[in-house]
Amino acid sequence: AQSVTQLDSQVPVFEEAPVELRCNYSSSVSVYLFWYVQYPNQGLQLLLKYLSGSTLVESINGFEAEFNKSQTSFHLRKPSVHISDTAEYFCAVKRANFGNEKLTFGTGTRLTIIP
């Protein structure tokens, strides 16, 4: 089975400062990795995903994540955050090539941007 660990439950960051949200996974097989964002009182939206190929993946709003197989990590980064980035961020994993399987989620990291 796959599992995900998000070490930081809350991360406060000043506006325009960089941020890293940590995600580590555990699996005996190849995996797909995802970051989802949940804005206050909204559903989950896919932020970015790693399936294969380039280990660095980017989102349209400036976030990026790097798949590191040796460290079993998929940390999310942004060089300069905005107030609008305040949200809950969830890392998720599933077995590669099993498209119809469930996603297993981490416990989430609440990102709070301080003006």
Binding site: F34, Q42, L44, L46, G99, N100, K102, F105, T107
Partner: protein, 115 residues
């Protein structure tokens, strides 16, 4: 992407009653997933619903408490039976994206409060 509509978006229920949540997708999908997000917690999979067969429940969830229907490829319902305050959660319907690359698309969720 898939567009998912859930009803109701929120409700306040009395202890001992039951509530049915509806999930409508704008395209035909093989599998639908029902997740629960308890206050301040991550997402936990309740069950996987396939059209034309019994839902598959995760450990800790049973059909008597969370009966699921899946009458066609675009619709599913989840009933929360004999509710107690511990059932106060957001219930989310999700489907695998049309490209079948693994990401899930989520509805806005149904926020239930049980008094």
């Amino acid at each position: 992407s898939a567009v998912i509509s859930q009803k109701p978006s929120r409700d306040i229920c009395q202890r001992g009653t039951s509530l049915t949540i509806q999930c409508q997708v704008d395209s035909q999908v093989t599998m639908m997933f029902w997740y629960r997000q308890q206050p301040g917690q991550s997402l936990t999979l309740i069950a996987t619903a396939n059209q034309g067969s019994e839902a598959t429940y995760e450990s800790g969830f049973v059909i008597d408490k969370f009966p699921i229907s899946r009458p066609n490829l675009t619709f599913s319902t989840l009933t929360v039976s004999n509710m107690s305050p511990e059932d106060s959660s957001i219930y989310l319907c999700s489907v695998v994206g049309p490209t079948n690359t693994g990401e899930l698309f989520f509805g806005e969720g149904s926020r239930l409060t049980v008094l």
